[in-house]
Amino acid sequence: MSRRMMKDGRPLSPFSIVVMTLLTLLWSIPTIGLLVTSFRSRDDAAGSGWWSALFNPFASDWTTSNYSGVWTGQDFSSGFINSIVVAIPATIIPIMFAAFAAYAFTFMDFPFKEFFFLIIIAVMVVPIQVAFQPMLDILGPRGLGISGSYIGVWLLHTGFGMPLCIYVLRNYMSTLPLSVVESAKIDGATHFQTFWKLVAPMSIPAIAAFATLQFLWVWNDLLVAKLFLNSANTTVIVKLQQLLGTQGQGQELLTAGAFISIVVPMIVFVALQRYMVRGMTSGAVKG
């Protein structure tokens, strides 16, 4: 019996190749359909399936007017800027606070240490919906009156991301060689110096992993943005949801809007995927 081998010496598995080709196609077709439709004219998109445009590319009416229409006409340009202004600070701000807390959980001993960490683990599972009515009270007109602007959303995402960030960084820091921190202590370094000069720089892979997850989460969030941002400050995801909700809108604008909302997280995802996978496999779980 002769089996064909792959270059690395493992047997070739035709069954795997066939099934995985089908599954990969099945998983990609929805996104391809969106991409193709977003470049079709209104009449074309309403009159025939997107696949027919792929089969007759020269007989079809290709256009970029959907993108210009949704970018200016539906004001996705300001939604896009808002998304960036919301997502980047909401990704970066929790990291500093979480890194100090993770350092304490990893390298220090103190009363109630386990109790505090169990709280972190417990609140990772608590649904964020608990926060909405109380935080609307604090941030809204009954409280500080800052609901609707960016700051409320930054605060909320900082709080929601904090448990996961502490958890990921603490898991990572506990794999760092203790000898490095020990020797810094022998040299007379304080915890503060050890943190800045040794532990924080060494934790960059875990920080990148969390930052990727948090950025995707904040950018793609609908709930917090819808409840805590006014219409001038709202994100591209909320704009898309509003476009989906209006009846009679051309499907072609919708697909262009959806694609605009996907581009940035897709780039971040592809660029930082390997950090994210490492962070996930080291036990990152978001509640």
Partner: protein, 388 residues
């Protein structure tokens, strides 16, 4: 830290636990450091609070949104760094023994403050509000709970949520295992490509994913050409075009919405399970092969038992996501045609109906549902720590 870190480290000098004592500066109190530390902290907090409130109250001062965003990054990160600097100075000024005792909390509390403000305090306040009226101004006892449990929509949402919980996590895990096993048998390049394409939807928001799938479920009147892929296939097979998301029979519309979430989550499951499968020692597989086991037997008897822990972790994670499923239902049907779920009902009570009392009562039901999961996560963590 003036001297370089010594390259050679005496391994035996390490303490058995993973904690490090600070330098033994058993000193007296340094009032100047304490004072500068306290004043510094107060000034930083005051400046940051004013800066961030000004973003909200006087956005016109800053010219452009991008400026606000940049200042927020600088203020947030830089401010946090300066705050920790003064906190540290304050602690170093304390007498040695006290300083050693206080410093862990100084590192811990700023982060914990956000958790307390954004998650712990609201949990108790939400429970509190669930006994109050629609704008949280007077207590009404158990009225909200009576209202929501008397509401057929709520009962249907619970049934739907249970259906989601029964189907989605199991399908996602099964799919993840199948893809992980099959890609493991591909060439290195093929494996990478297949995994990337199946993982990609994880970057897509539930709202955009719904837009993508609404295109697939689209309906045109009979006689017109079908632009939705599903109806095109269905009519190609001889059926009449269907408005898929309005078909309540056998919960078909709910199941079609579940497909969207499965499509989004499958890559996550695959990545974790794939790394677990790659961790299965080759010699256990070889031993089974020598004993004459078929590939299918090896899979069930050797591989699955060794990746059981990861399977459970993935299952629980997806389970938690599904429990709070909201976006997909909200943007596609908003709960019509018998597809409502708890989180969507909550959102509509809070946002559209302004019924804070009922909305918070619904969250309390969700909270009770996650208690077993919290217990599981804590137990899981304790086991992991014991094996560290």
């Amino acid at each position: 830290m003036s001297t370089a870190i010594p390259k050679v480290i005496n391994e035996e000098a390490q303490p058995p636990d993973r904690t490090v004592e600070g330098p033994d500066n058993v000193g007296r109190a340094q009032p100047v450091k304490i004072l500068i530390g306290i004043v510094g902290m107060l000034v930083v907090v005051w400046l940051l609070a004013n800066l961030f409130l000004a973003f909200s109250y006087y956005p016109e001062w800053f010219g452009h949104k991008i400026v606000i965003g940049l200042l927020a990054i600088v203020g947030g990160v830089g401010g946090a760094a300066v705050l920790f600097f003064f906190l540290n100075m304050f602690v170093e000024g304390l007498p040695g023994r006290l300083s050693q005792g206080v410093i862990p909390y100084v590192f811990l509390l700023p982060g914990l403050f956000f958790v307390a403000l954004m998650l712990i305090y609201p949990t108790f306040q939400t429970i509190n509000y669930s006994f109050a009226n629609s704008d949280s101004t007077a207590y009404v006892g158990l009225q909200n709970y009576r209202t929501i449990f008397g509401d057929p929509e709520f009962r249907q949402s619970i049934v739907n949520n249970i259906l989601w919980l029964l189907i989605v996590p199991a399908v996602v895990v099964a799919f993840g295992v199948i893809v992980a096993v099959l890609t493991d048998k591909l060439s290195a390049g093929g494996e990478k490509l297949a995994k990337s394409l199946i993982f990609l939807p994880m970057a897509i928001s539930a709202v955009s994913a719904s837009a993508i799938w609404l295109l697939i479920y689209a309906y045109n009147n009979p006689g017109q050409e079908q632009i939705g892929l599903l109806n095109a296939i269905w009519t190609g097979l001889g059926g009449t075009p269907q408005v898929w998301l309005q078909i309540e029979a056998a919960k078909l519309n709910s199941i079609l919405l579940m497909v969207i979430l499965i499509w989004l989550q499958a890559g996550f499951a695959m990545v974790l399970l794939s790394s677990a499968i790659k961790g299965v020692p080759e010699d256990t597989l070889e031993a089974a092969r020598i004993d004459g086991a078929s590939e299918l037997q090896i899979f069930w008897r050797v591989v699955i038992p060794q990746i059981k822990g990861t399977i459970i972790t993935v299952f629980v994670t997806v389970f938690i996501t599904v429990l709070k499923i909201f976006d997909v239902v909200y943007v596609t049907t908003n709960g019509s045609y018998g597809t409502n779920v708890i989180a969507n009902l909550f959102f509509n009570k809070l946002f559209a109906a302004s019924e804070a009392g009922q909305a918070t009562a619904i969250v309390v039901v969700l909270l009770i549902a996650v208690i077993p999961l919290i217990w599981y996560q804590i137990r899981h963590f304790r086991n992991e720590e014991a094996n560290r």
